[in-house]
Amino acid sequence: MNAETLKGHLDLLLLSVVADTPGHGYAIAEALRARSQSLIDLPEGTLYPALHRLEDAGLISGRWSQVNGRRRRVYQLTAKGHRLRTQKHRDWHLFARTVYAVVGGKP
């Protein structure tokens, strides 16, 4: 699944991953890969501008800290990010249910 297919959904994916596993960029990329069973195939470097966009919007917060003796930028969800993630999650389920209702199958 490439960047074009994921357009419009990347924010929800990143917010969900950061909500469950706050961490540095590589950990977030690994979690995204693992949870999608390697189906999400994004150039991992492009996650950083996406994370910064979410940070600028106040949805996640990033700060430099020492992790395993190395300086890394660690991200975690803000209260605003948590609210938006819940809303986007609900919207996504409604969208998925609607599409399944039309094309058939189960969400």
């Binding site: 690994e30 492009t46 501008p49 919007a57």
Partner: protein, 203 residues
């Protein structure tokens, strides 16, 4: 230890970001850390160091693609215009300071001008540094830049309104206009961009 291949990737990314007018030191630092983590991970999975490096770079994506994603979120034309305006304001206030101290106009208020010129220089340098470094400044840096910009707007508007009675009438109008524009553009750059991104994320 950073290999030649990683160094080249980071250099290429830095060049691509600068070429796109979107250099962001934080992104470069994070991508460097990302590559180190990915290589360590590959070696832990049993890959030879060379293969682990190749895999890490392949997974990170071409530097120009990463740079394009960064550039997509940066208002490049306005950023360059603000950079040019800051540099011009610093030069203009330096020129005016030199003129005043050489020509010694009788009606000039030297102590006030010294404070103002110092403010213009510091604010210009801080804004240029924030723009060149790229990315989002910290909350404190942003607050400092915005506070300085508000002062610039106040001084600029005062200079414009007082220009008719000032000794340097022409310079007063020009510098006042430049200060006002610099202040407004700086606030716009560091505040409106944040609001714009928040709105984008709500979509």
């Amino acid at each position: 230890m950073t290999s030649d291949r990683i160094t080249k990737y980071i250099d290429d990314l830095t060049r691509a970001l600068r070429g796109d007018g979107a250099f962001d030191a934080t992104v470069v630092d994070e991508v460097r850390d990302h590559l180190s983590d990915a290589i360590e991970d590959g070696i832990r999975r049993g890959l030879p160091a060379d293969a682990a490096e190749r895999e890490a770079i392949a997974r990170c994506g071409p530097p120009d693609v990463v740079a394009a994603h960064v550039a997509a979120g940066v208002p490049r034309v306005r950023r360059r215009a603000l950079l040019a305006l800051c540099a011009a304001t610093v030069l203009a206030s330096t020129y005016l300071s030199l003129s005043m101290f050489i020509l010694r106009p009788p009606r000039a208020n030297y102590s006030v001008w010294t404070i103002e010129a110092a403010l213009f220089a510091v604010q210009g340098a801080l804004t240029i540094a924030a723009l060149v470094r790229g990315g989002s400044p910290s909350t404190w840096s942003r607050a400092l830049l915005i506070a300085g910009s508000v002062v610039l707007v106040v001084v600029g508007v005062s200079a414009l309104s007082a220009a008719a009675t000032s000794h340097f009438e022409g310079y007063g109008v020009l510098l006042g206009a430049m200060l006002t524009m610099q202040g407004v553009l700086t606030i716009e750059h560091f505040v409106r961009r944040r609001i714009h991104r928040a709105v984008e994320s709500m979509k």
